[in-house]
């Protein structure tokens, strides 16, 4: 294809389309909608897109496209707010942002972290669009070069980030990651449908646990509970330090890191089937490994924010390539986007690049422009929104509990969501308390399913090739790409293990008696043992081999850790217990008493349904725990209820029902 004669006129057409006022208007509408929905963690892009889907039909294609692209572009932008300000990973794309973003917010540098994140997003988005414009012609062979062995190697590279995030004691990181993988295998096996750690008597577990629940439980609940106990503001000093202009300067100082991470984002985004779940971890790991002074990572290094945020917006652009060229969605939101395109009468596929190159370029550059508008808007807002971190946290917490419970319920719209949330939340609290790496757990969980799939599928195809001839099998498994990825993985693990001591959430350590840490490890060991035995009883080989192998490895890790606990004195790092000192140990409120408030909300929900429970919880909390007057408590409660009712109505969502609703038919929102 003659690039000059075909691509340049198409680029020109696309440029004229993109700057049309009508197009701009719809795109900005999409951006605003995306940003306002994005503040709810766990909802974000897919909810926003399905909100506009019914209007797509019969809409002018250019406007419809602009609206959808505007929405998609800001998904990885808007969720940064909750990641940085509240420590709640807004979506899988911004999990790694929490690691350093939230500590920065606690240091009073929320505005700095936010503006650095947004300008990185903006830059990543534009760079992604530029790369896409050029590689769209050669993307097809590039994508076809990534077979199952290559995808498996990328997944393993993602998992190798556990090494660097393992924390003070690598063995604990291994156990946390293994536990995460095992939790990820709960439910029906992806290949043969065998049940693992689930029975049809509890239909909820059959589908496995969803990322929303795990993310909220492992990150959000422990952080919210811990903050609530200390009864201060998120920013420890209650002040806002470095402002948003500092964030811009930080980004400029790290522009090469940002460029490289955006490159990682585009490449991983282009490969269908990987989704966005690895890219932020790979970018974060790269940032840590490639820099010299690493000891601030995990406690608020601005580079830990810039790296993942540069990559996740670039990834969104990369994800367009398989979506448009092959008609295969690169992620969940891309799947909905694909549906929307069909409703506009467009059919993505090989023909779209050849015949409708101008439309393809319109999409690519609308995305870039929407990034500029969205991220630009966010940079301007970040100074104001960062003030949230100076509010007394006790006044903020009930709203967060409301959002956490509501977001969790969206996962399966079953009361089981709330029960699962409490369980995972307690695990998260204990992992945090005993200094097990929560990122390692999360990486294990997120990559569990795809690791199992790719292992099984690549082995199956590899075996078939070997049956044909030895050369055919070797050719399949050993390609230049797999070898390079293997080298990268080994390097990443070696550097990771050497550096992991420097990457930690807590500087000073506190140890208490041996009893509590040993009890927790004992509980983990029992679960891992049961999961391993359960896997062994699965009859279908393909469905059992992965959880069984991981289970045995994790079990060995548990035993080694147990041995160390028996041999070492109580002051050893293996006995770290955050309840024995520091912020948590000296907090004015107790851990379980604080968690009981949240638990109370869920019990009330089980009885009266979410809305009535929320009203009771709000008034009770603001009056009794926050010590507000009755009048103020009522005002705060109404604000919270109004907010959630507005969003639920807009997004056409139901609330969790309770016992009351099974006896009486109540109108929405009490249903």
């Amino acid at each position: 294809m003659d690039i000059l004669t075909v691509a340049l006129p198409a680029l020109g057409d696309a440029f004229l389309t993109v700057i049309q006022p009508q197009h701009m208007m719809y795109m900005i509408a999409g951006v605003l909608l995306g940003l306002s929905i994005g503040v709810l963690p766990g909802l974000g892009g897919i909810a926003g897109l399905s909100l506009v889907l019914p209007f797509m039909f019969g809409m002018d294609p250019i406007s419809g496209l602009a609206l959808m692209v505007g929405l998609i572009a800001v998904i990885p932008t808007s969720d940064t707010f909750s990641s940085v300000l509240l420590g709640i990973p807004g979506s899988s794309a911004s999990q790694a942002t929490v690691l350093d973003g939230f500590p920065l917010a606690r240091k009073g540098q929320a505005a700095r972290a936010l503006s650095a994140a947004f300008v990185s997003s903006l830059y990543g988005g534009i760079l992604g669009a530029m790369v896409l414009t050029m590689i769209i012609f050669v993307a097809r062979p590039l994508i076809l070069a990534f077979g199952l062995p290559e995808m498996l190697m990328i997944t393993i590279l993602g998992m190798s980030m556990v090494a660097i995030l393992a924390g003070r004691i690598p063995l604990k990181g291994v156990v946390a990651a293994g536990l995460g993988i095992l939790v990820g295998t709960i439910g029906t096996a992806p290949a043969g449908g065998s049940l693992r750690m689930a029975t049809y008597d509890f239909p909820y577990l059959v589908d496995g646990l969803q990322l929303v629940i795990i993310g909220l439980g492992i990150y959000a609940i422990p952080e919210v509970v811990s903050l609530l106990r200390q009864d201060t503001s998120i920013s420890k000093s209650g002040q806002l330090g470095a402002g948003w202009s500092q964030g811009l300067r930080d980004w400029w100082a790290n522009r090469w890191l940002s460029t490289k991470c955006a490159g990682i984002g585009v490449i991983v985004g282009v490969i269908p089937g990987l989704g966005g779940s690895v890219v932020d971890w790979i970018a974060y790991g790269y940032a840590v490994q490639s820099t010299k002074d690493r000891d601030q990572f995990g406690q608020g290094d601005i580079r830990g924010v810039i790296a993942p945020e540069s990559s996740n917006n670039a990834k969104e652009g990369g994800g367009l390539v398989p979506t448009l060229i092959f008609g295969i969605p690169g992620s969940g939101s891309m799947a909905v986007f694909l549906g929307g395109l069909a409703l506009l009468g467009m059919s993505p596929g090989p023909a779209m690049i050849r015949q409708d190159l101008d439309i393809t370029y319109t999409i690519v550059w609308s995305l870039a422009l929407a990034n500029v508008v969205g991220a630009g808007l966010c940079v301007l807002l970040s100074g104001q929104i960062a003030r949230l971190t100076t509010i007394r946290f006790t006044l903020l917490a009930p709203f967060l509990f409301m959002m956490i419970a509501f977001a969790a319920f969206q996962s399966r719209m079953s009361f089981g969501d709330l029960i699962a949330l409490v369980f995972v939340g307690v695990i998260g609290i204990l992992l945090r308390r005993f200094d097990y790496s929560r990122p390692a757990f999360l990486i294990g969980f997120v990559l569990s399913t795809q690791a199992e799939q790719f292992v099984n599928m690549a082995t199956q195809i590899g075996a078939a090739r070997f049956r044909r001839s030895f050369e055919a099998g070797i050719d399949y498994l050993v390609s230049p790409i797999t070898v390079s990825l293997l080298i990268l993985t080994v390097l990443s693990i070696v550097i990771g293990i050497r550096q992991s001591k420097n990457i930690r959430e807590n500087i000073t350590t506190y140890t208490g008696t041996k009893r509590a840490p040993m009890l927790f490890l004992g509980a983990i060991t029992v679960y891992v043992a049961i999961a391993t035995i359960d896997a062994a009883t699965v009859t279908r080989f393909g469905d059992k081999v992965f959880p069984l192998t991981v289970g045995i490895v994790t079990l060995l890790g548990c035993l080694a850790l147990m041995a160390r606990m028996i041999l070492r004195p109580e002051t050893d790092d293996v006995f770290i217990d955050m309840e024995t000192g520091g912020d948590d140990g000296e907090a004015p409120h107790s851990l379980w008493g604080t968690l009981a408030w949240f638990f109370g909300l869920l019990v009330l929900t089980g009885l009266f349904g979410f809305i009535i429970a929320l009203a009771l919880f709000f008034v009770g909390f603001f009056r009794l725990r926050a010590g507000l007057s009755w009048a103020m408590a009522l005002v705060f409660a109404s604000v919270g209820l109004g907010f959630i009712l507005f969003f639920a109505d807009l997004l056409n969502r139901d609330f969790p029902p309770g016992l009351l609703q099974s006896y009486f038919d109540l109108p929405w929102p009490f249903t």
């Binding site: 019914p54 059959v206 008609g327 409703l343 799939q453």
Partner: protein
């Protein structure tokens, strides 16, 4: 936002349809003005069923009396059994709730999946949409295909599959009946991934539904990278499998089977294949009202769908947005519904024991 709300036009169409269908009299008694119709599907926002439901929802809003707002609701989980179990408990009889199923909802019902707590016979069908499918091979293997599978018996095939109890059951059973040595690689996320495996050379046999085939495989066929070998065909009015009018030049599986030694278009294997083919393709997607909806409400929906199908622009709209799907309403929808949820005990046992034996997949 251009919300679809053109009362004048639809009132005119309504008057026209009232004149055209004498049984449309009860329509006047029903009016959904100011109400919201929820079109619930047991799937997530991504995927073919969401596209199908979002295509029909605004058309329904225009065609139903009173022009209600129509929204699509999603209740995914349990391979679509969660949503269907939920619908089984619903008693919204006034026409503000309809439910869309797919082959993935029918198959667990036919196979006796323990998660199934729903009973199709309790529900009232108002629309059935079908689709076809085409099987294709890579160019080199396709060159050895001469109208039967006798010459390809020694070949080892790899097939990317979503799972043995999904719609892929139909091709897997067809391959087995043809005597092909096909090893399915389970666990892909959608048929698009299967096509990608085929294009990467990891799989060397694949199939796509009609619209995906036209869009994404025909370009490969033109470059000589893929060769179509058979289509599933469609059911004629007498219930026979005949050539798909979308692919008049591609023989049906029935034709290939008859030409291939050891494959028969009668007997328990054929009965089983035919039952699952109807449920998974010929009558793949169905729209239901709850069992307690009155005849008036059912009539109102039948008329609304009749009106949609009678739109002069329907063929063009549905072709670009859904692909080529036959749509059945009224008595034809009830026949399709009956066929989609019926399998003889013998055929079910045959399929269950084959699934357990060949793939280790059981329904416990």
């Amino acid at each position: 936002m251009t919300k679809i709300n053109t009362p004048r036009v639809s009132a005119a169409i309504l008057a026209a349809s009232a004149a055209a269908f004498s049984f449309a009299a009860p329509v006047a008694a029903q009016d959904l003005a100011g109400k919201t119709v929820e079109f619930v599907i047991p799937f997530s926002e991504s995927g073919g069923s969401a596209r199908w439901a979002n295509f029909f929802a605004p058309l329904l809003a225009e065609a139903l009396p009173g022009n209600p707002t129509a929204i699509v609701g999603y209740r995914p989980g349990g391979g679509s059994t969660t949503g269907a179990n939920w619908f089984q408990e619903q008693t919204t009889a006034d026409g503000t709730l309809i439910f869309g199923t797919s082959g993935s909802t029918q198959f667990p019902y036919l196979l006796g999946d323990p998660r199934v707590r729903y009973e199709y016979r309790d529900w009232q069908p108002v629309l059935a949409s079908g689709t076809g499918g085409v099987v294709y091979l890579p160019g080199d293997l396709g060159a050895r295909f001469d109208g039967d599978m006798d010459d390809l018996q020694g070949e080892f095939f790899i097939f990317g599959s979503q799972g043995a109890t999904t719609l892929d059951l139909v091709p897997l059973l067809a391959f087995k009946m043809l005597g092909l040595q096909v090893e399915p690689v389970f666990g892909i996320e959608g048929r698009g991934d299967g096509r990608l495996m085929f294009e990467r050379g990891e799989a060397n046999i694949d199939y796509q539904t009609s619209s995906a085939y036209l869009k994404n495989v025909v370009p490969l066929v033109e470059q000589g990278l893929a060769v179509p070998v058979m289509s599933w065909g469609i059911l004629d009015d007498a219930g026979n499998v005949v050539r798909d009018p979308t692919f008049p030049d591609i023989p049906t599986f029935a034709e290939i089977c008859e030409a291939t030694a050891g494959c028969e278009t009668s007997g328990v294997a054929w009965d089983a294949w035919r039952a699952f083919f109807v449920s998974g393709f010929a009558a793949q997607k169905l729209v239901y009202l709850p069992g307690n909806a009155s005849a008036d409400v059912v009539g109102m929906y039948s008329d609304a769908f009749a009106e949609i199908l009678a739109r002069p622009d329907f063929a063009a709209l549905s072709e670009s947005q859904l692909g080529v799907y036959p749509q059945m309403i009224g008595p034809a929808a009830r026949v399709a519904h009956e066929a989609a949820i019926t399998v003889s005990d013998e055929a079910r046992e045959y399929v269950l024991s084959w699934l357990a034996e060949a793939y280790g997949v059981t329904m416990q």
